[in-house]
């Protein structure tokens, strides 16, 4: 992974939105122009004491004077959003990385279908801005439980442009749409982008099961909230030395490698940033990251969260 500049930015604005969402605008204290971001990019926010949290940029990528993120207060989360909601105020400094993008628009797509559920609408707003600016065809769909709880509706309207967004609220039957019907037929040249709660993403995944995998793109930020998963011990074998190292259930391959003096770069340690990526040569990995594409998963591995059955041969 390429390195990114980490900056102390000024909190230029804070705005509250429905659905327990806070919009934070960040500017550089000395530079008028921030590092560029492409649509779909996220930044790492360094939350004091808690570590790094990823948030999608939801502003127009063409406006490089400001980064705008939207933070939903997650009552059952790991505490990052809570800290931001309870502590952050305008004028504060916040440590933020330059943007990175795992959720890029496909350059060669003829048409784009953008599907955002709840707070997951954020990267899709940036995508709509970029597509509209470039005059490329798209349709922006925002899903929420109700109009009253839907965050960022003004931004959604603005980003969608004159055609307007397609708004779908669970409690307004007339507005609801059947995902299976909407995505019934894979269309050549059409790409689908989806971000939202796990259930929503799963529904889109099912609805697009027949689509070529290259035409469907997902962004997820909460891989470890999968409560069903039970970590079991496994082993890793290093190609360079042939050493076989056990990874206990309560530890990670990354931690075991680190103890062994093999310090891979690392950052988020929740499988979203990709810093610790390494090659896998043989074995049965259990991929639990949200960085690697289905294609990359055939040869790559994210040792901070992913595990394996039996012994996994790593290209280290």
């Amino acid at each position: 992974m390429s390195p990114r500049l980490i900056m102390k930015l000024d909190v230029a604005e804070i705005r509250r939105e429905p659905g327990d969402v806070m919009v934070v605008g960040l500017r550089h204290p000395r530079r008028p122009v921030l590092p560029a971001a492409t649509a779909g990019a996220h930044v790492d926010v360094h939350v004091p004491e808690l570590g790094v949290r990823q948030y999608s940029l939801c502003g127009d990528p063409a406006d490089r004077s400001l980064y705008r993120i939207a933070v939903k207060h997650e009552a059952v989360g790991r505490g990052g959003s809570r800290w931001l909601h309870e502590t952050l105020k305008a004028g504060d400094a916040l440590t933020v990385s330059a943007p990175r993008n795992h959720f890029e628009l496909a350059e060669d797509a003829a048409r784009h279908v953008l599907l955002g559920g709840g707070i997951g609408i954020t990267p899709l707003i940036a995508m709509a801005h970029a597509l509209r600016g470039a005059g490329r065809p798209f349709r922006l769909h925002a899903f929420a439980r109700s109009r009253a709880l839907a965050p960022l509706l003004d931004e959604v309207e603005r980003a969608a442009g004159p055609v307007g967004p397609a708004l779908h609220f669970d409690d307004e039957p007339a507005s609801r749409v059947d995902l299976a019907a909407l995505l019934a037929t894979p269309e050549p040249g059409t790409h689908v982008y989806c971000c939202g709660p796990a259930g929503f993403m799963e529904a889109v995944r099912r609805a697009t099961a027949e689509w070529p995998e290259e035409q469907v793109h997902f962004e997820a930020f909460a891989p470890l909230l999968d409560a069903e998963f039970v970590a079991r011990p496994f082993a890793i074998r290093l190609a360079s030395s042939g050493d076989v190292l056990p990874v206990p259930a309560e530890s990670s391959a990354l931690a075991v490698l680190r103890e062994r003096g093999i310090a891979l770069p690392s950052s988020c340690e929740i499988g979203v940033c990709g810093s610790c990526e390494c090659g896998v040569l043989a074995g049965e990995p259990i991929h639990r990251d949200v960085v690697l594409s289905p294609r990359a998963r055939r040869t790559r591995f994210i040792p901070c969260v992913s595990r394996a059955t039996g012994t996994l041969h790593l290209d280290l």
């Binding site: 390429s2 390195p3 990114r4 500049l5 980490i6 590092p35």
Partner: protein, 179 residues
């Protein structure tokens, strides 16, 4: 003629004191790898260690685990000025590289850094000794997103130094040769 001149044995250093004098323009530190640099009005240099508040004193730099001395790093403002003009024409990298961005600690004017390998010199009250010439890195190019910066800094990427005598330095301090 040029080759013959270059191969001629160097005279004893005591017979050939350097006579330049320069100035310290900026002091920058970064608390950790990849953190944007911060400018200081005053820097505290600790002999044998680094600058207070900097990643290479704290051991949190990208190259902290690599051999070589990097207690304090310097670069010439003249290099930044040449880059801004796209000079030299080969490789022709034209880029605005601000002192806050180049990730060296000290920005100097009028100091022939490439000639200070193995030599001692003073920055204000502090004594530095030139280690290796700094080598540009793709890391900086990627960090700043300036294409061609790596090539643009080849042979003029500054000097890595050790700190022989510590102390406090400020922009405007004179920089003079000791041997």
């Amino acid at each position: 003629m040029g080759v013959e001149h270059a191969l001629r044995p160097r005279r004893e250093e005591s017979e050939n004191p350097m006579t330049w004098s320069g100035e310290l323009l900026h002091i920058h530190v970064a608390p950790a790898a990849s953190m944007e640099m911060e400018e200081l009005a005053e820097g505290t240099l600790v002999a044998g260690r680094g600058i207070e508040g900097d990643r290479y004193l704290l051991g949190t730099g990208s190259y902290s685990a690599k051999p070589d001395i990097r207690e304090v790093t310097l670069i010439e403002v003249e290099v930044l000025e040449a880059l801004a003009m796209g000079e030299p024409k080969v490789p022709g990298t034209k880029a605005t590289l601000e002192p806050i961005d180049h990730r060296r600690n000290l920005t100097t004017r009028g100091v022939p850094l490439n000639h200070l390998v193995g030599r001692r010199f003073k920055v204000g009250e502090v004594v530095l000794k030139g280690g290796r010439m700094n080598f540009p890195c793709k890391y900086l190019e990627e960090l700043l997103g300036i294409e061609g910066l790596y090539e643009g800094l080849l042979n003029r990427s500054g000097l890595n130094c050790s700190i022989e005598v510590g102390g406090t330095i400020r922009p405007g301090d004179p920089i003079v040769p000791l041997d």
